[in-house]
Amino acid sequence: MRKLLILIIPLLIIPAVVVAGYIIGRNSYAFVSALVVLLGCVPFFLAFEDGNNSGRRVVTLAVMTALSVAGRFIFAPIPFFKPVTAMVIISAMYFGSGFGFLTGALSALISNFYFGQGPWTPFQMFAWGLIGFLAGLLSDPLKRSKLVLILYAVFSGFLYSVILDTWTTLWADSGFNLTRFLALTATSFPITVVYIVSNVVFLLIFTPLFSKKLDRIIKKYG
């Protein structure tokens, strides 16, 4: 039943929701988009529940999530320096795409316990989850080339901003309003750029460090 759901949700239910939203009309777009991102998280959650995850893997997921959440507190004195995206990418690079998605989604969910839940929670979950998922798919090139890593950090910064701005536009205009979207993107652009720079810095420093730390742990404990 669960295995079936993992397939049915992305292949049938999500398209059905989108079509239904289209039929009902513009007023439902914001609601439909929220529903779609929430449903988008479900297959990953289900796959994790069913997957054969050892204690080690479960703890590692919790640790990576906790590090990215605590990172938001730790770097609070340094403006715009939030290691969440970078930690999600690192987590995905070394532990796979499903793992990356969960690190991202859970980081958003848990950090909003401290910073406030809101209608943006599902979108943050989905955005960071997606960044992790894609990073997991690209893990080999990301590990091999610094350039790819930088490009991906830039891409993920924009992806995050696009997903959240799109939602805001859909909500405010009951439809996609390009002017508002561009205005939102433009106002958040400087912040996005600072985030991207901090992500790049963080990734360039921590990716080699992390792989060293991980190798040591694996060697020490098997």
Partner: protein, 284 residues
Amino acid sequence: MNTFRNLHPVTLLLYFSFVTVFSVFNFNPVYLCFSLLGAALYFASVKGVFVMLKSMAGYFIMLLAVAALNPLFSHNGATALFFINDNRVTLEAFCFGAALGLAIASALCWFSCIGEVFDSEKLLYLFGRASPKLAAVISLSLRLVPGIFKSFKEIHSAQSSFSSNQGRVRRFLSSFSAVITQSLENSIITADSMNARGFALKKRTRFSRFRFTAYDAGFSAFFVLLGTFICVGWFSFEFYPVISIGRLNALNIMSVVLFAVMSLTPFAYEVKEGVKWKISLSKI
């Protein structure tokens, strides 16, 4: 004291999904006014009037800003007030902006209430029902976050003796790197402790302190009924091209009244229980 937050998490989830969906995805100012009123009163009963008024002031400024800015993005509407660079600034867009501001305000206010009511324990309970393993991950993360923050502070202050010649950001990064090492190292002990207690051997159950009683069932049924009738009698409010309300019938009026009842339920609950408590105390 018996308070609204002591209802079963499933009942609370049902209630808050209704009110937030009705507030976030709806621009009908009639409904929204009741929504904001209910949220604000309940918020005041939880956090005190002063805190509520403070956040209301913030919401009000935000509402004005959204109302003022909306006509710049949206040129729909028949009644042009004036032009900026050949772009029409319409009354309707302005009114829609105000309604949007109202929707944002009531959504934010409801989410603040949710933050007060829905602590991690309740969320874990709901997650645990669907996915006990994921609930274990979330629970462990919640346990780790304060510890990681604490050891960062300790490491960072221990490092202060050495790194006078380093930049602030670099010092933060090197302390954070040490925190990662510590966390990975400790994760082995944690994993051992999980395995020693039989983690992942068979399908987990999830224990919780909550019990779904007839009382909770009654409230859940009440919310579902309210929600259904509110939807059935929903009346539409169009901003474009001109502001128009559909013809009001009895069902529409019922829908609005029931929505008001729904929004005010948490506040009324607190008031009723407060009074009951006072009476039962005076009898002692």
